[in-house]
Structures are given as structure tokens and as C-alpha cells.
């Protein structure tokens, strides 16, 4: 009972949604088109579990004075303050009916002043990591690594005016070998070939995995034993 019903639910909803893709009317289609909505709603319910987990972990660290517990205080305070501001629209010029991110609202300040710079800076760390990763990984150790390295170098140079300048001496008949042209050619043809092979493979993986899930062959997510 505890195991069979979830499997039946999975089967029914899976089949109904697939049908909804092909059938344009009736409940099937409604369900297919609303699934994203439903999912987003269930996600909000799940926030209670996520938020609970976050509070529990950091409260535990604070109460047991674990290493770095003062930082857990930072998380707790930041979380609770922002949550109150957000849920009750504190400082929102439009009151409870106002747009959640109305300019001038406190939540807007949290977004523009705190969230945004932190997010953008974390993201920008990639500029450094891209350099260190390429320095380490792009070594001609094996044939495969050499191919990887050569393609990367051609694109790196071809994507800047320097590439054009480096190969400008080439005769007209060899224009296709100029770095910017070569870079575009690699992107448009071999890159597309690889991307396509990967995409077709992934599509098949998704189809087979979905099918295994709908048929109950893959049921790890429900726990395996009884």
C-alpha cells in the first residue's frame, strides 16, 4: 500500500501528461499546460521544509557553539529579517497590495544592495577560475587533450581582433584559414556536430529514464526496500 500507491500515482500522472502533449483539448491538455504552475505551487510548500532545515542547522550550530557559530548567527538574522520584510511587504510603498519588488520597498533594497552585488561577484570569480583551469587542463598530454587544447586556442584567438591581425598576412585563397573564420567554422560545424550528438543522446536518456520512472522500474526516489 505504502509503495504501490506512489507507483500508481507516478504512472497515471506520467501517462496523462504525455497524452496531454498530443491531445489538444480536455483535462489532459489542461494538466499538461498547468503542470509548471502546479509544480511551482508545490515548490512553495516545500519551502517550509527547506526553511525548516536551514533554521535547524544554524540554530544547532549556535546553541552548541560549534566552530564558526557566530557566522550562523549572521545567516539566522539575515534570513529572519528578510523573510519578515518579504512576507509582510514591510516598507512597501503600495502596502500589502503593492508589487513585491516595488522600487523603494525594503525588499527591493535587500535585492539591489545585498543580493545583487554578492551574486554578481560570485559569478565574476569565474573569470579567474577559467584562467587557472585552462592553464592546468590545456596540456598536450594525450591526443584527446591536444585536440581540446587546439580547438580552445583557435577560438580564444579567433574571438578577438588579435586573431584577425595575426593571420592577416595570409593570401586571399587561404582566407578560410584566418583565425576568425576558422573559429566561426569550428563553432558552426564540428561544434554543432558534437553538441547535436550530445543532445540526441540526452534526449534518448531522458526518454528512457522517464519511461523507467513511469513504469516503476526506476524507483530509488521512493526508497528501495520496503
Amino acid at each position: 500500500m505504502r509503495r504501490r500507491i506512489p507507483l500508481i500515482i507516478t504512472f497515471i500522472i506520467g501517462v496523462v501528461l504525455i497524452t496531454g502533449y498530443f491531445v489538444t483539448r480536455g483535462p489532459f491538455n489542461t494538466l499538461y499546460e498547468s503542470f509548471s504552475d502546479y509544480f511551482a505551487i508545490i515548490t512553495v510548500f516545500a519551502f517550509i521544509l527547506g526553511g525548516g532545515s536551514l533554521l535547524k542547522i544554524h540554530l544547532k550550530r549556535v546553541s552548541s557553539r560549534a566552530t564558526d557559530w557566530p557566522y550562523s548567527m549572521v545567516t539566522l538574522v539575515a534570513f529572519l529579517v528578510t523573510l519578515v520584510i518579504g512576507l509582510f511587504k514591510v516598507g512597501n510603498p503600495g502596502g500589502m497590495g503593492g508589487e513585491i519588488l516595488a522600487s523603494g520597498s525594503w525588499l527591493r533594497f535587500m535585492f539591489d544592495g545585498v543580493y545583487n552585488p554578492l551574486s554578481a561577484t560570485m559569478f565574476s570569480l569565474l573569470a579567474f577560475f577559467v584562467a587557472s583551469a585552462s592553464y592546468r587542463a590545456f596540456r598536450a598530454r594525450t591526443k584527446e587533450a591536444t585536440i581540446l587544447l587546439s580547438a580552445a586556442l583557435v577560438i580564444l584567438l579567433g574571438r578577438t581582433p588579435v586573431g584577425a591581425w595575426l593571420t592577416a598576412w595570409m593570401p586571399e585563397s587561404l582566407a578560410f584559414l584566418e583565425l576568425p573564420n576558422l573559429a566561426n567554422w569550428i563553432m558552426a560545424w564540428p561544434n554543432t556536430a558534437g553538441q547535436r550528438a550530445i543532445m540526441i543522446g540526452i534526449a534518448l536518456g531522458v526518454i528512457a529514464t522517464s519511461l523507467r520512472i513511469i513504469l516503476g522500474i526506476e524507483r530509488n526516489y521512493l526508497g528501495r526496500g520496503e
Binding site: 545583487n116 573569470a127 584562467a131 580564444l156 558552426a188 554543432t192 553538441q195 547535436r196
Partner: protein
Amino acid sequence: MRIPDTILQIDRRIIFLLIGAAVCIPLLLKPRFQDSPTPIVQSIFDTVERLPAGSRVFLSFDYGPDTAPELDPMAKALVRHTMTRGHEVSFFTLFPEGVGQIKKITDNLLPVEFPDKAYGRDYVNLGYKAGLGGAINTMVVNFRTLVNADAEGTPLDDLPITADVDEMVDYVIILSLTAGDPGLKEWIQFAGDIAGIPVMGGGTAVVAPELYPYYPQQLVGLMGGLKGASEYESALVDRYPAYRNATMEATMRMGPQVVTHVLIVLLVLLGNLAYFLGRSGPGNRAGRTGQGNRAG
């Protein structure tokens, strides 16, 4: 320790420092590198250029502030181009943060550069719609169920620009500026492939390679990253020399790009040189530096 080994085991913080310098110095010195458009960018420009004046264009800002440095220049170039050509543009976004990106255009760029263009007549802001790819699907099936008012809540029927828009197919082209999911891929899947509206636009350099397979059948053209943006800017300047003196952001920001790209290439070459020297000499330590790439 031998020199090749020192080079191979260089502290990555030194690389970080070099990258920081390679970005900051050109930002201060402001060198300007001009570029010529490649076919994949030119085809967007040509499409916009060839549309009869007054065509309805749908421009979706599917990005937030974190990718704005790359995509804002494209947005500005596209808005300048469509406005100069006299098209009627509807702004839209599938990203909640996209609202702010649209505002930057409608509040700062349009009133200054196109004072004669009026809101509701020449352009409109349809705002943000949740639902990711599903939202596109809904719009294609029944446009008005999802979009019945602009971002301020004014009913579409009350705005001259949208009064006649009943279906997604009333737009002649869809332009999307893409930072991830949802974006051009979803516009292609749900609008381009299904409703047959030509889809084109720009993507960050990260999403662009994934979009290449759709070109040219499902995707008319693609601006990839800052380089794509700077190519569009130069196409715009070539056709409309009046823009020569406008701030061409992408062209300006190519400075740090050129220097860092060259730096990374030099680093990779140096690393390989050291690797081969280290391998040929005594005390072979090749292959022990870092963790090998064993994928595939």
C-alpha cells in the same frame, strides 16, 4: 627545483593576479577595437533592416543584472536599430529580474535618444510573466489569456500599439536576449517551431554554443557574447554613421577581452612549453602536476 617544474606548479593566485591586472588596466586606458560582423550576426541585422517600417517586433529581455554586462549592449543596439527603422516594439521578460533591465531602456535610453517616440504607440512594456517555457506555450496557444495588460496594468486594448494584437503570430519576429533557461531555446521550441514565427537574438557566450545547432533552420541569427554585441554595433555604425559617436559599450568593453584572451593563450603556451621541457629532461615529473583530464 628546475624551472619547468616551477612554472608547472605555479601558485594559482599568481594567475588570478595577472587576470585582475589584464581586466583593470585596459579599463583605465580604454583602447578601442573595431570589429566587422560575421554572417550569423549580420543575418539578424539584415532581417531587422529589411522589415517594412512599423512592423511588430517582440523583444524579450530574458536576463537579469548578473549577465547585464554582456546582454545590455545587445539590448541597446537592437532598440536603437528597431526604433531607427520605425518598428513597433513590445518589451517582455521571462525573468523576474528582467523587469529592471527593461526599465533601464524605457527610462534612460528611449526618452533621451528617441524623444519623439511615445509609450503605447511606438513601444510598450508587457512586463514579466512567470511560468518559464510554459508561459511561451500559453502565449502561442492563447496570447490574451496570459498577456491582457501592459506592465502598469493598462489593458492592451487601450494602447494603440497592442490593440490589434490578439495572437502571438501577430508579431513578425521574436527577439530574445538569453542568459539561460528560459530563453532562445524555449522561444524556438514553443514559439518558433510551433507557430512559425522567426526567432533570433543574442545569448551570453555561455549559452551561445548550445544555440548554434538551431542555426540557421530554427534560429535566424545569433549574437554570441560581447563579441556578437560589438559586431552588431559595428553593423549599426556602418549603416547609420550617426551612431559613430554614441557610446558603443560592447566595443569599449572589448579592451579587457582582448588582453585577457591573449594572456590566457600565452599562459597555456607557457604551460605546454614547460611541460615538454620538463618531460624531456632528467627526473621526469610529467603528468604529476595537477589532476589529469581523464574524461572521455
